[in-house]
Symmetry: D2
Amino acid sequence: MVIVMKLSASSEEIAAVNEELKCCGLEGHLIQGVNRFVIGAVGERRDLVAQRLEVLPGVEKVVPIMRPFKLVSREAQEAPTLVRVGDAVIGGRDIVLAAGPCAVESKEQIYEAAVRVKQAGAKILRGGAYKPRTSPYSFQGLEEEGLKALAAAGEATGLATVTEVVDLPSLDVAKAYVDMLQIGARNMQNFRLLQAAGRSGKPILLKRGLSATIEEWLMAAEYIMSEGNNQIVLCERGIRTFETATRNTLDLSAVPVVKEMSHLPLLVDPSHATGVARWVGPMARAGIAAGADGLLIEVHPEPAKALSDGPQSLTPTAFSRLAEEMKKVAESVGRSL
Amino acid sequence: MVIVMKLSASSEEIAAVNEELKCCGLEGHLIQGVNRFVIGAVGERRDLVAQRLEVLPGVEKVVPIMRPFKLVSREAQEAPTLVRVGDAVIGGRDIVLAAGPCAVESKEQIYEAAVRVKQAGAKILRGGAYKPRTSPYSFQGLEEEGLKALAAAGEATGLATVTEVVDLPSLDVAKAYVDMLQIGARNMQNFRLLQAAGRSGKPILLKRGLSATIEEWLMAAEYIMSEGNNQIVLCERGIRTFETATRNTLDLSAVPVVKEMSHLPLLVDPSHATGVARWVGPMARAGIAAGADGLLIEVHPEPAKALSDGPQSLTPTAFSRLAEEMKKVAESVGRSL
Amino acid sequence: MVIVMKLSASSEEIAAVNEELKCCGLEGHLIQGVNRFVIGAVGERRDLVAQRLEVLPGVEKVVPIMRPFKLVSREAQEAPTLVRVGDAVIGGRDIVLAAGPCAVESKEQIYEAAVRVKQAGAKILRGGAYKPRTSPYSFQGLEEEGLKALAAAGEATGLATVTEVVDLPSLDVAKAYVDMLQIGARNMQNFRLLQAAGRSGKPILLKRGLSATIEEWLMAAEYIMSEGNNQIVLCERGIRTFETATRNTLDLSAVPVVKEMSHLPLLVDPSHATGVARWVGPMARAGIAAGADGLLIEVHPEPAKALSDGPQSLTPTAFSRLAEEMKKVAESVGRSL
Amino acid sequence: MVIVMKLSASSEEIAAVNEELKCCGLEGHLIQGVNRFVIGAVGERRDLVAQRLEVLPGVEKVVPIMRPFKLVSREAQEAPTLVRVGDAVIGGRDIVLAAGPCAVESKEQIYEAAVRVKQAGAKILRGGAYKPRTSPYSFQGLEEEGLKALAAAGEATGLATVTEVVDLPSLDVAKAYVDMLQIGARNMQNFRLLQAAGRSGKPILLKRGLSATIEEWLMAAEYIMSEGNNQIVLCERGIRTFETATRNTLDLSAVPVVKEMSHLPLLVDPSHATGVARWVGPMARAGIAAGADGLLIEVHPEPAKALSDGPQSLTPTAFSRLAEEMKKVAESVGRSL
């Protein structure tokens, strides 16, 4: 980091900064600028030290130089991480489609969805049993009963399964039923849940928070990985901005940025990002063209009957058509599906 | 809500919308516009119905008219809710100061902080024992040991106490030690935690999420209140915007807006909002002038030694000075301190 | 629009709203809701009327239902508008590449750029002569001398040319030299300039403002079109959000949304959006996959010597490679290049 | 600035960076970090050099350390700048109220407004003659006729006058009639207009752009000041965020931040920020408490008849009451009105 001293900083104040650096095991390099001193500090990035320096008299500001994450960074591991979920491998040449309804609503509904998305080429079946809903009066999910139906549909079709967990109890229950656990956008900085996910022994699908920077998102992955679990798939699902034409703003630039910063694979979720079924196709194509390793797409046998997120759900037929289109786009960027 | 039909909508499509409304217990009023039909639907706001209608053929969009919250709304209760925490009453004529360190670091530190903020006029002592930190490598709090120290400091000084809880286990432990439970910004949509807070029997301090609209924030309060707990204090602590000069952007307009929409009292936290100790004073004054019922302020006996958020912490001396200023501002807007 | 009355609204207040509507040539439909009245008003959208109603006693809020733009809307014209710039046609099956340096720096530089982007398949040469720069101390452009060099390079290579205009005088000068005029992001709501562009007789490239909603952007196009000029190409170039990893956040969802709302063609500018040359390729591919009609890309013969925006400029070699990739992506979505 | 080299940077690449720095008149200080080199560059901040370095092989990123503005910075001038507009002095102990209608609509309307705001204590009369409107179909202002009416009302009441200018022609006309020229939010980065304002010989009221950082806003002021005009008053009027309950989000933290960074005085405009008359009072009080030097407030004799921005306009009576409240708040923070 770099410590910028005030114009008026005295030599005693500069010495005090150097002293503090030494106490913390860092080394300070004094640089005399045109009209003030700056100090370059060498050592591991530690935010606490930066905070302490910032409070010292004579210090104008402290500028961090290095990124805060370690294990998840591309510098820590050059080769891409491959995440195995059932038969699917995420992060290789193959584009992986994960699809299914927002919420498991019944045995029949999830089974029907499973059969149809499998036919279309999906490898992973999604379905929510614990739904974080903005309103306490909305449908909150079938919980364990939903997990059972999801697992049964996965088994019957040979699809791997993924479901969202929202707290420690739901995580404990879910891991007995599904192949992959999802941490949703609203829980991206639920650090207890991240740590539990790190100890779960399951692959984790980590959605980006609505207002999370890419750096914070990777730090959330760092929480999981620091518990010994490197089977992490990131999922870009739109961020919150001033634009209201779409439900969220899908930040596809995050795809090349994450790929450069980290070795972890990445999916794109065009359903939550746009909130509108007819815009899912274009953004799915764009996500693959940008370099994503797969897609997470909401598909419901009857969107008009959905208990949650109907307007953004594709019909199975629309999903089949989308999967066909995806094949061509994937090939155009040197991938397969 | 209003259902806007497409230019090309057929009379069958219009009839189908009316049919669906009737099924859901709503009544449709057909209005023929200049060049299209719109349907005004009368009945309780139910988002699921809106979603289903949106999927019907011929429907262009569905525009909700009513606000989604019920119990927390000013229309449900005209009189302001008063929240009692120890000797303090939040929501009345008196401005309430809650102050203390970001994290409890030791018995001595929290006791020292308690004595000093009490002298300055604070009624509530804050101190974190479970810290949600962006990095897994940062100090995560003293947990139960910290709660004990906080409770002891509160008892010794006669201050009420408030601490953040981050999951169900920490909530269970904390409620035995403190007078008020805080739900932090990152957990504002941790709905399981909100429901548990609603059943805790304790007053709740509910911080606004970094990217939560006022409506979503009030819906989070609705989660708590729908479990039977109306002792809720909202806390504006800054939202995430493009501006980086301050840690967050303190949205003081939320004060009059919330006061109009809801009967719940509201604090302002200028420490997390600005992230810089020397800007806490001006924003604290502004918060009171805008109509807040109190302030939540970070005070640390030695900010340069703080294990968390030192740069935004006031010294006890600075806090005393601030409290003096507050008195005058409070009087200027017809309040007292 | 819908006028929502307060719970407490009297019948006199409702009558006054109806009276005001009648005065303004609108028709009011009274709807009795569960616990309040709402009035559906039929007639052309006029924001002034809405504002006046909002001030009347008893009115809680006024909710506009229809979109404010007319001429640019897809409802006004179903068929896509084709914009002709030199030999290029934007908005048809062919993807159009517009490329060149951020700023014209010398005759040699722009000529060299022109030759190279032409070889790679570009149809339009871009080059700035009037540069809106954040700092008054930065290079501000060669002005008319730059336009001459741009025109000469265009003529020598057979490329059409586009340049940014920043005020009425620069527009007047530029229109004698170039084939298309660009209105930049910072001037998207410089309404005088938009009107002058509408009367210029030239095709206009209208960039989206940094914080403009899609609706405001289309209203800016409406300003141009209401002066009789329908040769407008929109250009998505990234919006301002909290994310700082990229220079702006490229909002690719705007591509399908604009295509649905309007008949105007649309380019994507991945250079300004990302600010980093190595992320331009992925976002260019994504833009085409999302359905854009072309790309606007910064190419500089020697990025390290550029007087402006070097870090986001491609070398001619990198641009050739990108154009090859684009061909495949374009074909995968049924377009050609 | 600090140049961070890649992990893999060779010594030749490091040497090339040093060479480039030397060419640009800067001095490089090599610092060997834990696992990479960083180079501290000493010399004046020049963004072009930073951009060039960023393109060099082996360079990971360039981090600017110093702020880009010069003349407007508090370091360039410790004492606050006082701006004189008619009898009013902005930036001293006295809080200055500027008030009047959004748009001049008639001689009678502006005269009536002038008389009433003068009685209430305003020193400056505002009124728009050139209105930048989102829709081409909205009222665009009375232009020179409006300026005449504004000037006459100012003269009759002894109030100083301020009006918005939107391009060079309107600036030329307006400066003959009014005491102060306003650059609106949408033109904050209309650099030609800023330069013309700098040469106008008039005090300038510079509103913050909807998505402008504080740094960019001060750079806009730098444009004006670099033309020799230091009579600049900044005006915070809300930024664009995801929150839609208010028209914009009033960023009151900008008040102490600007006061620390710059010597220029600052007003707050609670009318445009909130968009709702009943929230103007609380935010006006908060603005003064935060340390603003005055307020810009929309007052219309009959808000329900206003041709623009009626819902956010105060009646003269409400403004008088507000001015009374302001006196008390001003005194509570050591100011007068």
